[in-house]
């Protein structure tokens, strides 16, 4: 459980750190990139762990945003996108770089709703498929 919860713990600390870093213009972009590097290393380091730990790590990190995303897509929970913004605070600075409006919603809306699905794929690739390279 300790190993599996590492990504979640790092993610929570990153939410706080990246949020405060938006106070200093530019630092937030660096912090976002740092988050991606740290999380990627962390996922990659799971490659030699057993399936149970991998599953648990992925679920702890992505189950909540996945649920929020599904609720938002099917318009079952009006605060879904509001909570997704908070959950994905560590990469909000990168998402904020490009503004665009499409079919009544801004680009960041689609990114936030789609991100859990993309991250599941990213997690799977990094934690599993690269294992043979080791």
């Amino acid at each position: 459980m300790r190993i599996a919860s590492r990504i979640l713990v790092i993610h929570f600390f990153a939410i706080l750190a990246v949020w405060l870093s938006t106070y200093i213009v530019g630092l937030d972009i660096f912090m976002s990139l740092l988050y991606i590097v740290v999380i990627s290393i962390e996922i990659y380091s799971l490659k030699n762990e057993n399936k149970k730990i991998k599953w648990l790590s992925g679920i702890l990190w992505l189950a909540i945003p996945l649920l929020l995303s599904i609720l938002t897509i099917f318009k079952l929970y009006s605060l879904g996108i509001f909570l997704l913004v908070f959950w994905f605070t560590p990469i909000i600075p990168l998402i904020s770089l490009k503004t665009y409006f499409f079919a009544n919603y801004p680009l960041y809306y689609y990114i936030l709703v789609g991100l859990p699905f993309i991250l599941i794929l990213y997690f799977y690739l990094l934690a599993n498929l690269l294992k043979k390279d080791n």
Binding site: R6, V9, I10, F13, A14, L16, A17, V18, W19, L20, S21, T22, Y23, I24, V25, D28, M31, L34, Y35, V38, I41, E42, S45, L79, I81, F82, V85, F86, T89, I92, P93, I95, S96, L97, T99, Y100, F101, N104, Y105, P106, L107, Y108, Y109
Partner: protein, 205 residues
Amino acid sequence: MQMRNIRLWLFFIIFILLLAYIIISNRAIFSNPNNIGKIYFNNFLAGDIGYGIEGKYGNNISWEDLEVGDILLGGYPNCSYGRFSHAGVYMGNNLVVEGFGDLGITIQPIYHYLEYSEIALLKVNTSMEIKEKAVEYMVAQAGGLFYPVAFKPGERIWNCSKIIWLAYYNLGIDLDFTDDIWIAPDIFYDSPYTTVIREKSYENS
């Protein structure tokens, strides 16, 4: 093993350092009992969470005398950060430029302001040229990312109040007399640069 520990605690350490930096560089604000953070925290402890109890209260306010660049404030009961939970700027033709969580910076019809239990229309006391430029700036940010607890610095991450404040601040009008690190809609109501055109509360609407 050591690198694993560094990765685990890295963001926590950065958080503490940034927190210390922000508090030290804004000592005067944090010692002020009326700073937004403290108001929010105290109201949160009292049970008022987020933007309050949403509903269709029907305040039947009139839009008469509203000019381009004037500010509309709306609020629901039990809002944790003041009497008003939302702000927008009138851009003419019954349209308002404003910020929402799901829509970002957007242009919307004015009529949803009729749903608020608290509403105030504020005239910004400056020239029409400045007011039009402020609206122009806000419209140019359409699609911009909405983050509820956005700090004042920066032009990429917004909330409904910050974009109004910055639009006017860039034109030499500082609507925030508190110098807080955040902006809440109530600031505009109390600003010396604004005059209340008319307002309504749920009790007397």
